[in-house]
């Protein structure tokens, strides 16, 4: 940053950066950033939830799946994304958003799977037994009892996945997407500090905003756990 500052002939902060062209660009990058993250989360959930249900239902799958995702999870996120790029047949997939979404999905999948399993596991046994004893069929029990009760842990997983993915999206700038991450690349190339700074601030703001939204969603969806620790 210091070398960047030294070499750049422009003032900092440079409010002139926000001209019409850049504001339009910022908006497009925002859309791309949100889209990549949103799609990765969506696909991650679509795969993680059935997988987690299967792991909880058929205990035989439980340990292998949990171990596998555990190992993958220890790999630093950026390294994992790059590894995915390296090993995926990028040639066949091309330098397209779908390649990025695929890589990001694999990462969200790890987080979401582990949290969904933890959430379903956290449902007290006496509650599921009571449900069975009252004549819930397994599918209804899952939908009406287990999922609602697992929701706080699942949403906690979505929050981690969302914030992590928002950060990882910038890495996909290497293959031409990257949302706000592109500002880093072009900012460095042009030695334009303000552009890099806008990229950083925009990423952070977006992450904070999304996290707040998810916290609010959790409150709205689980009114029963809100006052926990209050009365009793």
């Amino acid at each position: 940053m210091s070398t960047l500052l030294a070499q750049s002939g422009r003032p900092f902060p440079d409010w002139a950066w926000f001209d019409e062209r850049n504001v339009d660009r910022l908006r497009d990058l925002f859309v791309e950033h949100v889209q990549l993250t949103g799609l990765a989360l969506l696909f991650g959930l679509l795969i993680a939830i059935p997988l987690a249900v299967a792991a909880v239902r058929w205990r035989r799958l439980y340990s292998p799946l949990l171990n596998l995702t555990g190992v993958l999870f220890t790999i630093p996120s950026a390294a994992l994304i790059i590894a995915v790029f390296a090993f995926l047949p990028v040639q066949t997939f091309g330098l397209k958003p779908r390649t990025s979404v695929l890589a990001l999905t694999i990462y969200t999948l790890l987080i979401l799977f582990r949290n969904t399993v933890a959430g379903l596991d956290s449902v007290p046994r006496d509650v599921t037994e009571a449900a069975t004893a009252m004549g819930f069929r397994p599918s209804r029990r899952l939908l009406r009892v287990e999922f609602p009760l697992a929701l706080p842990v699942i949403i906690a997983g979505i929050r981690i996945a969302a914030v992590t993915t928002l950060g990882l999206v910038t890495v996909t700038a290497f293959i031409g997407q990257g949302g706000f991450g592109q500002l880093f690349i072009t900012g460095f190339q042009r030695q334009y500090t303000m552009e890099v700074a806008v990229g950083v601030v925009a990423s952070v703001l977006l992450a904070v905003l999304v996290d707040l939204l998810l916290v609010w969603a959790e409150r709205a969806l689980t009114p029963w756990s809100q006052s926990r620790g209050g009365a009793t």
Binding site: P124, A130, T132, M134, G135, V145, S225, S227, A231, T232
Partner: protein, 368 residues
Amino acid sequence: MITFDAVRKQYPDGTVAVDDLDLQVEEGDVVVLVGPSGCGKTTTMRMVNRMIEPTGGTITVDGTDIMSTDPVKLRRDIGYVIQQIGLFPHRTTAENIATVPELVGWDRSRIRERVAELIDTVGLPDGVADRYPHQLSGGQRQRVGVARALATDPPVMLMDEPFGAVDPIVRGRLQDEFLRLQAEVHKTIVFVTHDIDEAIKMGDRIAILSEGGVLQQYETPASILAHPANAFVEDFLGEERGLKRLSLIPVKEVTADRGPVVTVGTNATDAREVARSQGADWVVIVGDDDTLRGWSWTDELADPVDGDAAKPFVTQVEAQDSLRTALDALVSSWTGVAVRVSGGDRYEGLLTRELLTAELHDDARARL
């Protein structure tokens, strides 16, 4: 009616939890399964609604083999209060109680009415309907658990230590309320506890199980207390078997002594004569309709006898109290006399240590 015929449960790991169990639960009876921890009470109970499948023998409910019934349907027809209550944390009191009615598709207004009725029946305050379980006290949670099991008015109820998680005072109150309720609804109930006193209080019949799910004795509480089948049962009944038996006999079984009673307004000389004729130096003073006013020494009597000056009796018992309660009252009273009343203040007579002892002797002789 529930029938166990040579029922056996061996878990996959080899543990035999219930062995060769024959048991008949008559319609409208409360049968209490009691025994030390791990003796197979929960297993026995859960086989009835197929939460656990027997590995031998047959169980029938109202003549139908449970193995030929769809388990989900079977469970909806049997009320179940789980050992740890198991309320749904994400559903309010009202929603918890509404669970089975919703499952079987009652319409909304019928559910709302039923929930309101049950909240009242189990003695929950009105304000709790919209609270979540974590906002309720332990006793209230137990009540919600019972209300939820009663929701569709199932003829058969399984209750696994339904009052296990509350303190003794609340437990006593819940037991009393349960007995009052059962006297109205006459359900066929299998009730699990490991507390022999609770078993004696709640059960029409008691099944005593030992480790490995072996039935040791199955009879009425009075018979079990009078004639324990073997050393295990005797040991399980513990100390104070005589006292426990007293807790089963109501005060009304013992004829009360009318005692030296005088009515307010009697002149003092007549009152002293009543006392003397009974060998007492005191009198019971009653008002009109035998309303109890208190007692007085004969040499402190006003003339005519005045009710307002009478000293109150410290120990009062009612006809439906148990002899154990009466004995306790007598032991703690220095006069050795407890006054028996009905409806709080109508004088019925006196209960003395002598009367109680005589009764016990007769009773003991009759049982020999």
